[in-house]
């Protein structure tokens, strides 16, 4: 009864390898069942995201099992074995448990601390539960991994700071405005980064979207995409009076908004706060505008600085998180070792045999005149009693139940045996 992890992630495999191995759509359920049906695998979970594909199993012989899983993967996805062998990592037992904890806590993610992985892991677990492909070991492992992830989230600040430019922009907007849902957002120009940031802001629920572009058709297209209203480029300063958040990313070679123009805008909007993000390079908005009251202007470098300091903060927090993982790993391994009932069953039997032998010897010693025939009958009866007495606890120990760890500990205590003997 050991945990085995076989898989690959963004660190060891490029996206073209990852996508070949991915369990997408109906493949996920089907693959999970096939994986569980391998003779070497007792319990199974499949985690498949865009950054990682991992198979978790409960196995007895990890060498045999990993061979068989690798063959399964290569046959199922139609990938050559040798190319698969190069990118797959295999963890067993202690290292496997640790790996699952680190994945759940987002310590193994591309962006350390990102929250999606925990949800994806929960989904994988839910599917396994509904298909009944897991049992006592993986159930406990996944439950523990989820609780470790939660503990890390509450005890460290690993997930607190935004680590991408568009998240940083949203985070800042939330520290300037109380409520984004009554705010007007304006997108000036276009571009990948600007549109991504715009999507994030709109996703956080701004009230109205205005889109302006030098070519009006482009503005119309983008407005349609963002469910907003196109604005003629000549009118954008006029419309800025209403805009609370502005993202600017035009290809203009000079400033398109001067300080004096912004002053006028601020007067007209009664000095209500405005958050301007200038993503364009070269910059499109006079940096001196930041000196105006209630105007907060960030350019792409400012946002990058925010992100960098957040990444640094996260790395410090990740160290704390690794310590928590190690701590929880020990408690899990302790639980798992108690789960292994075989030594306890052997110890119980040995103890019974020992008592039987001692008592028989005593009896024969005190009554030397017992004949061979009687001796045989007595031995037979004693064996029957012993066997009948230790049968129920042995059967209980062999059963796979959720409270098996408690059972093992209880039996060890009741019979005064030490289960640590291998």
């Amino acid at each position: 009864m050991k945990v085995l992890v076989i898989g690959l992630n963004h660190k060891v495999a490029d996206v073209d390898v990852r996508e070949k191995l991915a369990f997408n759509g109906p493949k996920l359920e089907e693959g999970l069942i096939k994986f569980r049906d391998l003779p070497e695998v007792q319990e199974a979970i499949v985690l498949s995201t865009c950054n990682r594909v991992e198979l978790y199993a409960n196995v007895t012989d990890n060498l045999k099992a990993s061979e068989s899983v690798k063959t399964f993967l290569s046959e199922y996805h139609g990938i050559k074995r040798d190319s698969l062998d190069r990118s797959l990592y295999i963890y067993d037992d202690r290292e496997a448990v640790k790996h699952v904890f680190r994945v759940a806590s987002s310590l193994d993610s591309m962006v350390v601390g990102e929250p999606q992985i925990l949800g994806q892991l929960k989904d994988a677990f839910d599917l396994a539960l509904s298909k009944k492909t897991t049992g006592i070991l993986l159930n406990k492992l996944l439950k523990k991994a989820i609780s470790v992830a939660k503990r890390i989230r509450t005890e460290t600040r690993i997930a607190e700071n935004a680590v991408s430019i568009s998240f940083a922009a949203v985070e800042l907007a939330k520290k300037i405005f109380t409520d984004l849902s009554n705010k007007v957002f304006m997108l000036l120009g276009a571009g990948e980064m600007a549109e991504l940031a715009a999507k994030h802001l709109i996703g956080n629920g701004v009230n109205e979207v205005l889109v302006s572009n030098r070519t009006f058709e482009r503005a119309c297209d983008l407005a349609k995409e963002f469910n907003g209203r196109p604005v003629k480029f000549d009118d954008f300063i006029q419309e800025m009076v209403r805009a609370d958040i502005v993202i600017c990313s035009t290809g203009a070679p000079t400033y398109i908004l001067a300080k004096s123009q912004m002053q006028k805008v601020m007067r007209e909007r009664k000095q209500r706060q405005v958050f301007i993000i200038d993503i364009s390079v070269p910059r499109n908005i006079d940096p001196e505008i930041n000196d105006l009251d209630n105007v907060y202007l960030y350019n792409v470098d400012d946002l990058q600085n925010v992100v960098d300091s957040n990444v640094f903060e996260r790395q410090k927090e990740a160290e704390k998180a690794e310590k928590i993982v190690l701590e929880e790993l020990e408690t899990f391994l302790k639980w798992q070792s108690a789960l292994d009932a075989v030594p306890t069953i052997i110890a119980l039997r040995e103890k019974a045999e020992e008592i039987k032998r001692e008592e028989l010897e005593k009896l024969l010693h005190k009554n030397p005149d017992i004949g061979e025939k009687e001796k045989e009958a007595i031995e037979h009866m004693v064996s029957a009693i012993v066997n009948k007495l230790i049968h129920p606890p042995t059967a209980a120990l062999k059963e796979d139940s959720e409270d098996k760890d408690i059972m093992v500990a209880t039996i060890q205590r009741l019979y005064g045996i030490d289960g640590k003997k291998e």
């Binding site: 601020m266 009664k270 000095q271 706060q273 600085n305 300091s309």
Partner: protein, 271 residues
Amino acid sequence: MGIILFELALTFYFAATIVSVTELFKDSRIASKMMLSLAAIGFVIHTTDIIYRYVSAGHIPITNAHEATSFFSWCIVFIFFLLQFRYKITLLASFIMPIVFLLMLSSSMLPREIRPLSPVLQSYWLGIHTVLAFLGNAAFAMAFGIGSMYLVQEHYVKSKHLGGLFERLPSLQTLDQINYRLITFGFPLLTLAIISGALWAQSAWGSYWNWDPRETWSLVTWFIYAIVLHARLVAGWRGRRAAILSIIGFLTILIAFFGIKLLQKGLHVFS
């Protein structure tokens, strides 16, 4: 017993102040819960002390400098808990509790005996006038705390160094709105306090306005907050300017409160 209650309240406020100041440097849920409990216990004891004085004196206990300062602190803590209930900005305590503690400390050093009330003060106006004035001023004290928080947060956002308290401080707009609400709450109270004072003066001394130092300073304060509101509504003076004005306003109140006491004597009994 009154003395013990007051000292106890002072002690709890002191402990709450210490914890609230440490919270500026270290974010801890346990510390903020502890701070709230300490302040709440202090507040309950303080309330008991004021009721006790009310019962033993037979009139509202705001008739000497000790009582006035103590009641002023009580109003500030009262409004703090109202805000805490509504907005849950526990960090505000770090800006407000030190003021409460200093006020209570100065109150503790002033003579406490309950003297017989002079006939002039024996009027129902005493309760109305003083409670209005103190609640109004307490709202301005809170606007001072919120305004200070605004300036700190605005400094982070403007300078683009998002360190320190940035994560824990509320958004600029939230702080600005609370500041505005506090001033719109305090201003009518101050106005009514001045009007009720004038009516009382008319019935006690036969004239509405005597240019006694407290009256003058109240008028100055009234004008400052009138400007805050006017500038906001007409010229859009919000954000940083509103925060600075509310800080200036409260400093004026403090000068009026303690300055007059030290420098001059006027008609106001605890001047």
